[in-house]
């Protein structure tokens, strides 16, 4: 029943320091790679020079205007979006797993992402004329808001159902997820009949996920709703640690359990819903990133939340790099890449990690 590699335990402190130093460096590396690789190659030095010139800092690498244009208008917003979404999803996954007291809680598996997608699609298909009549600034926030509400409803529902039958029962949680994913699939199916061709394409985009919509506008639309949870999660680190002992025990060590639960449900729904609104359903990042980190640095949320955000950003940018270079000049939906890598990982988890004890 070894939950993690026992021999790293005496060195948990050291592993933690190393991991939390290496992750930012890795993120920088993936950012430079993502910025440089594509139809138009840009050397790392050139990337730095273009960025430097933006803030009036002249670096000794020369580049042409085309490269600057591609970097600033296309690749950079996509990278920013990738960092936001990867970080937001992975940190939300870590928080959700602590809240559900279960290392298998994943917004994709339990239906929270589908709920968000359903909210977004509904607004898009049914509310097209409505949103067009709104001022543009309000208009760009309408889809994220609908996605947030969709995610929130599902999170509350799953939490109620799962905790009604014993503390965070995994079976109930995953079964609820199956039901909600099926329901979301059915409703999406119905909507495809009333959707126009353009709407159909974006429905496909929502169900498989993509950073292809990575414009500065998308970054602006999602940044506040993802940054807010990312900044607030650390406040709940101690509470999440205590919650892993069960709700009553958390109360006994002085945690306001109800307030913590409400805050975490809203914050994770906000991050997941906003991610879904701009990039569709991207699975497995919220499951895989916190899991890998727990093996390296242990389950302490004081380090896990921030570390997961960094690792999630790295993984998503990496997956996006694969998604847009593997079949270039065409592009794979990123959900296919994360599922392609994440699903086998999930199966491996079920079979090995806890000796079949998870269910």
């Amino acid at each position: 029943m070894a939950g993690s590699l026992p021999f790293i335990l005496p060195m948990r402190g050291i592993a933690r320091s190393i991991t939390l130093t290496v992750l930012p460096a890795l993120l920088l590396l993936v950012v430079l790679l993502s910025a440089g690789i594509g139809a138009m190659g840009i050397q790392p030095g050139q990337v730095l020079a273009i960025l430097g010139d933006q803030v009036g800092l002249h670096l000794p690498w020369s580049y042409d205007d085309g490269q600057a244009g591609v970097l600033l208008a296309i690749r950079l917003p996509r990278i920013c979006l990738g960092i936001l979404i990867g970080g937001g999803l992975a940190a939300s996954g870590a928080a959700m797993q602590g809240l559900f007291r279960n290392p298998l809680a994943d917004p994709g598996l339990i239906g929270v992402s589908s709920g968000g997608a359903l909210g977004a699609i509904s607004v898009l298909v049914l509310g097209g004329t409505f949103s067009a009549s709104l001022p543009s600034l309000l208009g760009i926030y309408l889809v994220p808001a609908a996605a947030f509400i969709g995610s929130l409803i599902v999170t509350v529902m799953v939490y109620r159902l799962a905790s009604a039958r014993g503390q965070g029962s995994v079976a109930t949680m995953l079964l609820t997820g199956i039901a909600i994913n099926a329901m979301a699939g059915a409703i999406t199916g119905v909507l495809t009949f009333v959707a126009t061709d353009a709407q159909l394409r974006s429905i496909t985009f929502w169900s498989l996920g993509s950073l292809g919509g990575g414009t500065w506008e998308a970054v602006a639309a999602s940044a506040p709703f993802i940054l807010l949870p990312l900044l607030l999660f650390p406040r709940y680190a101690a509470a999440l640690n205590a919650l892993t002992l069960g709700e009553e025990t958390a109360g006994h060590v002085g945690i306001d359990v109800d307030r913590t639960k409400r805050a975490l449900v809203v914050l994770t729904s906000l991050a997941v819903g906003s991610s879904v609104a701009v990039a569709g359903v991207i699975g497995f990042i919220p499951l895989v990133a916190p899991h890998l980190l727990r093996m390296l640095i242990g389950p302490d949320h004081r380090f896990l939340l921030g570390g997961s955000a960094l690792l999630g950003a790295i993984l998503l940018l990496g997956a996006d790099l694969i998604a847009r270079t593997l079949v270039a000049p065409a592009e794979l939906p990123i959900g296919i890449v994360t599922a392609g890598i994440g699903a086998p990982f999930f199966l491996w988890l079920l079979m090995h990690e806890r000796g079949g004890q998870v269910l």
């Binding site: 029943m1 070894a2 939950g3 993690s4 026992p6 335990l9 005496p10 948990r12 602590g98 007291r101 279960n102 290392p103 503390q167 101690a238 640690n241 205590a242 892993t244 002992l245 069960g246 009553e248 025990t249 109360g251 006994h252 060590v253 002085g254 945690i255 306001d256 727990r294 242990g298 389950p299 302490d300 004081r302």
Partner: protein, 270 residues
């Protein structure tokens, strides 16, 4: 300085789980609650620690209503060891113990918190488990780590302000020597001024370690007092339906309960 429950009644629908039970845990005192399964022992403990409000009656800590203390304030004065603890994450035993310091930490643990966690692990005879992962520990070892956690929680509570330790069947899964060890720890905390309430099943352990015994039966207080007054064959017969002989303990100043002939007959089915 007392933790006091007055006329506690808990009803679920028309069924009374607890019926007009009053209990006081004074500073420096070990009170054992005994009684058959379903007598309402755990419910009483949950009411006393504020997990759920009684249908009637009230709980006061140090003469103030329990609910008037903010949660963290409450947690700095009283620690609760639950009957079962859930934990499916691979924290180390030290990290679990540190969670007991949560109400004292403001934005991070101080070196003192680590020292206290270490000392609490030693007190619970679990120092050697410090860097083991909780999920790899045996049932008894887990129970000792949780004991260390609740000890760490009220470790430095000033005696003058009244601190309390509520233990719900703290001996579950412990071997014989650790059963005595855990109750001796409770006695040491009482000697420093902590009020201890512990739910026990072993009448002899209750006789040996408790200052007073409260017997719960069908949601009511059947008896309450020093072990010698409470542990009488007729009461044990009434409450537990078991025939016993009660002798003076050969070495200690407390009664010794021995199951009688009819109990043995019941066991062998003859």
């Amino acid at each position: 300085m007392t933790l006091h429950g007055e006329s506690i009644t808990v009803a679920i629908g028309s069924k009374k789980i607890l019926d007009d039970v009053s209990i006081t845990i004074g500073a420096g005192e070990v009170v054992a609650v005994i009684g058959p399964n379903g007598a309402g022992k755990s419910t009483l403990l949950k009411v006393l620690c504020g997990d759920f409000p009684p249908t009637q009656g009230y709980v006061r800590m140090n003469s103030h209503p329990l609910t008037s203390f903010p949660l963290a304030e409450r947690a700095r004065r009283r620690a609760v060891l639950p009957q079962h603890s859930l934990l499916s994450f691979a924290f180390t035993a030290l990290e679990v113990t540190l969670m007991g310091r949560t109400p004292h930490a403001h934005g991070g643990f101080r070196p003192t918190d680590y020292e206290i966690a270490g000392a609490a692990l030693a007190e619970a005879d679990a120092s050697h488990l410090e860097s083991r992962t909780y999920t790899t520990l045996s049932g008894g070892e887990r129970q000792r780590v949780h004991l260390a956690r609740v000890l760490a929680q009220i470790w430095d509570a000033p005696a003058s302000e009244g601190s309390y330790l509520l233990l719900d069947e703290p001996l579950t899964g412990l071997d014989l020597s650790h059963q005595h060890h855990s109750l001796a720890v409770a006695r040491r905390f009482a000697a420093r001024g902590t009020g201890v309430l512990t739910i026990l099943h072993d009448l002899n352990l209750a006789a040996q370690y408790a200052d007073r015994i409260v017997v719960l039966w069908q949601g009511r207080t059947a008896a309450c007092g020093p072990p010698t007054d409470v542990l009488r064959p007729d009461l044990i017969q009434d409450v537990f339906g078991l025939s016993t002989t009660v002798l003076p303990h050969p070495e200690l100043d407390c009664p010794l309960v021995v199951a009688g002939i009819s109990a043995v007959a019941m066991r062998t089915g003859s």
